[in-house]
């Protein structure tokens, strides 16, 4: 290949590149007229789309309700609120890319985090770099908040707040429990909470006889369940997302694996789990950060938990669960912070969020040093006769723990 033809090849390539860059530099601006835009990168398609859709429902209900009530008050003016959705197709690198795009191209005022601890952690680097206040509606693992970031806030309390009360209840109410088996999905949140469970159990003198991880996408749990059956634990703890847990429960039934106490996180909170598992869902325990049965009166635009449930049911025809409620309260928190700060200035809003101490329909909201909420008391519940009933905290408990899962 001769010198000039090499140059020709390189030339063609470089010309393409240069032209592209020139053309691409013409980016679209955004006309802002008394509208507050909040960026929401979500997995609207792909394996996490059910969870992504829930978050979207929560955001939409808040935006609609806030706009109907006159919008968000910034000092003396009222602004409408608009959520800018971007689909990252359940692909974490895309989530990070979109987070940056929303900030630099769409020039949103604030952002919500993507779904789940993993993607939230990945995208939080971007919002920290740009000094963009971000509220995470679905991230609980402490690993997400341990980077010393100042611009990330989360509405879920750390994982031990789920496993500790649960372990207390079991220790107190079911003295027969000595051995615990843990099966965890090898993913940020499910594994993190399983590790917390392990710690909580050991702290109370339980013997963890089995602790294994299963790969994402596993469809056959027969081997793990057979081993669990062999170890005969009195308490089985399984983590994963709703599809994994439905499968595990069904295969437990197939292999006749039973125990006095069976806990699963995070599926039983959803109606879909109860519907899919049918009679197998009976007496399964779980914990989450919110439940429609709680009763709080808040400063937010919904006013109370009952009103939130009512409005949600009117719009969507179903009862909300914690995923949607968390998304809605994330919006409410931005609203409260903006109104308190009287400005859209990012640093001021961030500082207001950091020092906030308010009551909302979600519960009392106060953020800790790391940006994660520290004021919630997550409810523990059990599926009895086909519905979820709250069994902790005592203030809102509807029933007692029933022992025995076939």
């Amino acid at each position: 290949m001769t010198r000039s033809s090499v140059k020709k090849c390189l030339g063609k390539g470089l010309v393409f590149l240069a032209v592209f860059l020139l053309v691409a530099s013409l980016s679209t601006g955004q006309a802002a007229e008394r509208v507050i835009t909040i960026g929401a990168p979500l997995p609207l398609t792909g394996p996490l789309s059910p969870e992504g859709q829930k978050q979207a429902q929560g955001y939409d209900l808040w935006a609609e309700t806030a706009n109907k009530a006159g919008g968000v008050k910034v000092a003396t003016e009222h602004y409408k609120v608009k959520i800018v959705y971007n689909d990252y197709q359940s692909n974490t690198p895309r989530a990070v890319q979109l987070a940056e795009k929303l900030i630099t191209e769409d020039k949103v005022n604030f952002t919500f985090s993507p779904f789940g601890s993993g993607a939230t952690k990945a995208a939080s680097g971007v919002s920290e770099k740009y000094g963009m206040p971000t509220i995470a509606a679905t991230a609980s693992s402490e690993e997400v908040y341990n980077q010393g970031y100042k611009y990330l806030f989360g509405t879920f309390t750390p994982n031990p707040t789920l496993t500790e009360p649960l372990s207390d209840i079991v220790k107190e109410k079911v003295p027969a429990v000595k051995k615990v088996a843990i099966l965890a999905r090898n993913d940020l949140f499910p594994l993190a909470i399983a590790q917390c469970m392990d710690a909580s159990a050991k702290k109370r003198g339980f013997n963890v006889v089995f602790f294994e991880k299963y790969a994402i996408g596993t469809m056959d749990h027969a081997s793990a369940l057979t081993q669990i059956r062999g170890a005969q634990p009195e308490w089985i703890f399984a983590t994963g997302y709703i599809n994994d847990l439905i499968l595990i429960r069904k295969q437990m039934g197939d292999l006749k694996v039973s125990a006095p106490v069976v806990t699963m996180i995070a599926g039983p909170a959803y109606k879909e789990f109860v519907d899919a598992a049918g009679p197998l869902a009976e007496n399964i325990t779980s914990a989450s950060w919110w439940h429609p049965a709680v009763r709080y009166k808040g400063e937010d635009v919904f006013g109370s938990t009952e009103n939130y449930n009512k409005l949600f049911r009117e719009k969507y025809g179903i009862i909300p669960d914690y995923a949607q409620a968390s998304a809605s309260v994330a919006g409410c928190l931005f609203q409260i912070a903006i109104e308190k700060a009287g400005t859209l200035d990012r640093k001021k809003v961030r500082d207001t969020l950091a020092s906030m101490n308010v009551m909302t329909f979600w519960g009392p909201v106060r953020f800790g040093e790391t940006g994660q909420i520290i004021s919630l008391k997550p409810p523990v519940f059990q599926i009895q006769k086909g519905t979820q009933v709250v069994i902790f905290p005592p203030e809102i408990a509807q029933a007692n723990l029933l022992v025995g899962v076939k």
Partner: protein, 288 residues
């Protein structure tokens, strides 16, 4: 005791695996085409069974012929329409083509049916069989039995029918078969269609046991790869043997190394076989 249950788990799983892989193996062996669409075909079979049950009340075990028919037409169309154009082309071309097709069809499925997992929940669930302390869920047993039956049927067709002999002839030597008067292009289309049929049937059976989602297509494909290499390409008994071996391997592997490694174990086995015994356990020569 524990080991016996694990073994039984593996065998039951293996029967199903054999059905998943046999169509894929045939297509690879005869057309020398790795059909990336195979996983998606299985998923289409599952959706057929699911909707047949939801809308028409047909039990998944009985919707096998429906799924088979749909996939037959689909596969035949794909093959004569597109894949036939590249059958003699290098590996890269055929692989990339079927990959592109798979992306397209898979995305269609996701748009049409969403990526959420569906589950066939029977009104009258089949029970659990307990023999000497070993539990076998009846639906898995039924699926395995039918899978083996279908595979056996395929073997019989290849062995006894004219068309079957023609397929085997093309597999052994394309040019010679053509010289013998076999219409090779038609055989290709037919074989591909049979591959689709087996995938559809497997899909129906699978709908009984596993959740259904377009996202399952690649994991199924991965298993099919391993089974083909274990059992030898284009060989039906090979697929059965490969399937059973993989099932038992995964079962015991999960016991020994933990469930999260089951799939990795199968891939490492694949690599080892490729390096040291590419013709599989049975030693039948495949294409390069």
């Amino acid at each position: 005791m524990l080991y016996l249950q694990i073994l039984v788990n593996g065998i039951v799983l293996g029967g199903l695996y054999a059905c998943i892989a046999v169509g894929f193996s045939l297509v690879w062996g005869v057309l020398n085409v790795i059909n990336i669409l195979h996983g998606t075909f299985i998923v289409i079979g599952s959706y057929t069974a699911y909707f047949a049950y939801i809308k028409l009340g047909i039990h998944p075990l009985l919707s096998i012929p429906i799924a088979a028919a749909i996939l037959f037409l689909l596969a035949y169309a794909f093959q004569s329409g597109m894949i036939n154009k590249v059958v003699a082309a290098p590996v890269l071309t055929t692989l990339t083509l079927t990959f592109g097709l798979d992306l397209f069809v898979n995305n269609l499925l996701i748009v049409a049916f969403k990526a959420d997992y569906r589950k066939v929940i029977l009104e009258h669930p089949l029970g659990v069989l307990t023999l000497a302390g070993i539990t076998i869920p009846e639906d898995k047993l039924a699926a395995m039995g039918l899978a083996l039956l279908l595979t056996g049927l395929l073997f019989w067709v290849l062995d006894a029918s004219r068309v079957g002999r023609a397929i085997v002839a093309v597999r052994m030597d394309r040019e010679a078969a053509a010289l013998m008067g076999v219409k090779v292009k038609k055989i290709y289309a037919l074989t591909f269609a049979i591959g689709g049929v087996m995938a559809g049937a497997a899909g129906s059976l699978i709908s009984l046991i596993y959740p259904i989602s377009p996202l399952n297509s690649l994991p199924f494909l991965g298993k099919a790869f391993v089974i083909c290499v274990l059992g030898g390409l284009g060989s039906v008994p090979g697929a059965m043997l490969g399937g059973l071996t993989l099932g038992v391997l995964e079962s015991f592997g999960a016991l020994a190394f933990g469930p999260e490694h089951a799939v990795t174990l199968s891939f490492i086995t694949l690599i080892l076989f490729l390096l040291f015994r590419p013709t599989g356990i049975m030693g039948k020569r495949g294409y390069e």
